[in-house]
Amino acid sequence: MKPRSTVARLLALFRGRKLDHELDDEILAHLELAEHDAIARGLIPEEARQSARRNFGGIEEMKENHRDYRSVRWVDNLLRDFRYGMGSLARDPGFAVVAIGLLALGIGANSAMFSIVDAVLLKPLPFPEPERMVRVWETPPGLRNGTTTLTFLDWKRQTDIFEALSVESPTKAAVATSGYPARVAGKQVSADYFQVFGVKPQIGRAFARGEDQPGADRVVVLSHAFWQTQFGSDPGVLNRDLVLDGEPHRIIGVLPAGSFDRDEAVFWTPLIFAPDQLNRGQHWLNPIGRLRAGVSLEQARAKMTILRASLNDVIYQKDWGFAVDPFAQMLVGDTLRRSIYLAFGAVVMVLLIACANVANLALAKGTTRRKEMALRTALGATRGRLIVQLLTESLVLCILGGVAGVALGALLLHTAAPLVAAALPFTADLSMDLRVLGFAAIAVMAVLILAGLLPSLQTSFGTLSNALNQSPRGSSGSNAAVRRTIVIAEVAASVVLICGAALLFKSLEKLQQVDAGVRIDHVITMSTDLPSAAYPSPASAARFYEAVVQRLQTVPGVEQASVSQGLPLQGVQWGEYMRLPGVEQPLLVRLKLADPWYFSALQIPIESGRGIEKRDRAGAPPIVVINQEVVRQLSKSFGVANPIGRTVGIDVPGYGPIPESLVNMQIVGVIRSERTAALNAPPELVAYIPLAQAPRQDIKLVVRARSGPAAAMPGIREAVRQIDPHLPLGDVMTMEQVKEESMLWATQPTWVVGAFAGVAALLAALGLYGVLAHAVMQQRREIGIRMALGARSSDVLSHILRSAFSMLIVGLAGGLAGAFALTRVLKGLLFQVSALDPVALAVACVLMTLVGILAALIPASRAARVDPMRVLRDEG
């Protein structure tokens, strides 16, 4: 075929209707002219018309030739099937709506979930050559730990390994914006931080070498979003200053849009090490690096091992090594990865069940279309041609379902993104991009095969006489067996999901029941940072703590106020060694700094001795209060029976430039353990030091209110403002919110799987309903005869329910087997619940059975109401 005619033929495909129309006109004109001529030759009109038709020849045959010549046959067929498919869908809108709805649900939920999977686990990081980005650790046996300043500086000198090596330390600063003081999040970073990420500022420059050295000018880099909102996208921003905690910082750069947008930090300043931080005792840095081009991970690891050996004289943790890990790997925690896989597995299951439903509907439709198929076979259509036609109809369904699904997915993602964002790494960008659309397209193809191909192969293309004679009475047949099998598989799949959801919910309940050891209700918390300029000395900070508590106590509605470093359930920042005199091996404890009112504000009971009191101020004899876990460990490891009165040595963190120092202090009391870390973690060993004896700038206010905490908030703000009008309050959260946040890792996957399990159960019930309803319709005559012969309504009812029950039982058995097989997946996410918990599994089975019976009741009662006389009259 020449190109010209190929193009013409392809064009003809789309002009088919117009060309047909034109041809019809030509034929009409032709016949008219012929008739006209014939009359002119003397024939009477009737004969003239006949003669014209005769000379013209077979009109339909000619038209078919005309189409053949002008067009590409198979494409033309396809288009015709497509139109036919649309038509047949339009004729049965109920089926079309249900099927498209099911597919949209399945594909929508899957594309939204895939977007998360893709963003978190599959897509490369949004930085150039992300495989060169690494995290570097010190490794106590079996662990990953931060490193010390001096060791970090040793690593930084390994320029043959690292092109750039940086640390980041989160910070918050008051930014003077319109009116009231606000605290915004930022990061202190090494000068080559942006080099690690390969990000170049859109305006200005990144930090220069040496800008993280003592004495350098104060400079700051802004995030794109912060530049837009706070500086109105001012292109001249580089001439302006940003005032952080009262200190003007020269703006040297603005990051491009997209980079770090999901990071909560909006500004970056150089991290300048204080002289006292230059030690090898405090493991506080978590370096990120970019490997030099051409250096493999293995080479880097080997070189770091050699470096570790050469530093053996100065590093006193002799059994700690160095480790280099890919950056991407460390971004996604094990729990998150597991949760995402779990949720994705659940949503794929939902899609499969939706497919099964559509296949089932199509099969049911297939039985009712037997006559049509037989007729077409009789008229000469081949089996292959009919299968193609059925497939095309399914394709129409799938494409419509897919389009609706993608729209639904975008909607779901839009709704869910803000809810899940906190749990995902900052690099994860959730959007319906081309990759997600590609996934949706693949899903549509898979659905087409599952829900379209199998039913079309199953559809009977029997002989005309068979179909016409049998179909009104045909009861079940092989088709029905296939449909029952599909329903059983659906029930089984739903049971797996419901079991998983039941286990997760039980685990969540257990988690919620864990006693946090502190008062949760009526407690409100907030954080603040004391700026060094206003609070230069430990004494000034200590004065603030006392003044603010005193003032807060006078606020109406406030029962108890306190200041501390750190909150329950959020983890404790400091881990220090507690040394007993005469004992060589120290005990690692978490160190919490609290004022005298912390225990009473959170209602933590004192078990023995005393708590922290007002007399424990700076200059007074240093004391420490320990929790029961420490007591237990002291008695177990060192045989200390009664620790009260003992003197222990602990490194106490410093204030500002004041270094940390070893302080000998007396144990004066024991408190009942509060949960300092996540509720699923065992209680930690915690030592409490008076905040007045070890003041800090980053502190939390904890206020217990008499009634609703929200009502007390304005009074609290005002009280703090009276003490220091420039001090901004951040992270205002009730203790309930703190607790909720600490359980997000468990609640989110639980509700996601729970929602999918619910949808799956409904879909399975729908499938069950469909099969039973169809069976009842097909067996009406049989039921009518039975009733005519004396069967009662209740017999018919129980007959149908028995049939439903048999499918349910087999499905339940299959589902339980599946649940057993999948225990390994769930194990890591369950808290104090066995993956084979009999109660949860039983609840799941009962739920599915109930839903199934409900679905069966409708067709069963319809069957019981069959009027034998009418049925026999209608179809006899």
Binding site: R4, A8, A12, D25, A29, L33, A34, D37, M62, R70
Partner: protein, 117 residues
Amino acid sequence: MLAANISEDKTDVPYGTLDLLILKTLDTMGPLHGYRIARRIEQVAENLLRLNQGSIYPALIRLEQQGWIRTQWGISETKRKVKFYSLTKAGLKQLSIEVANWERATALVARFLEAKS
């Protein structure tokens, strides 16, 4: 009923020649509509040809798609809108090719028929 009117001595259009007949007709007569083309072919054949008049339409669309003829809307003698077909430059060239082919083929066959053992 149809068969009764078809006389025994008429022949079918020789295979593959309908295109040639149409092109030649348009070359001789200028723009024509479908019916006139069919009639003209019948007239020239002086009723020796058994032509289903309708069969020229698939041939016309094929020739049009090859770019050898073009169409224009016009008004028929019965005041109806019809397509008028006319030869394009490419069609003229194609006609000469087909005529040459045909002459070569008939010459070849004629030589076989004349050949004596």
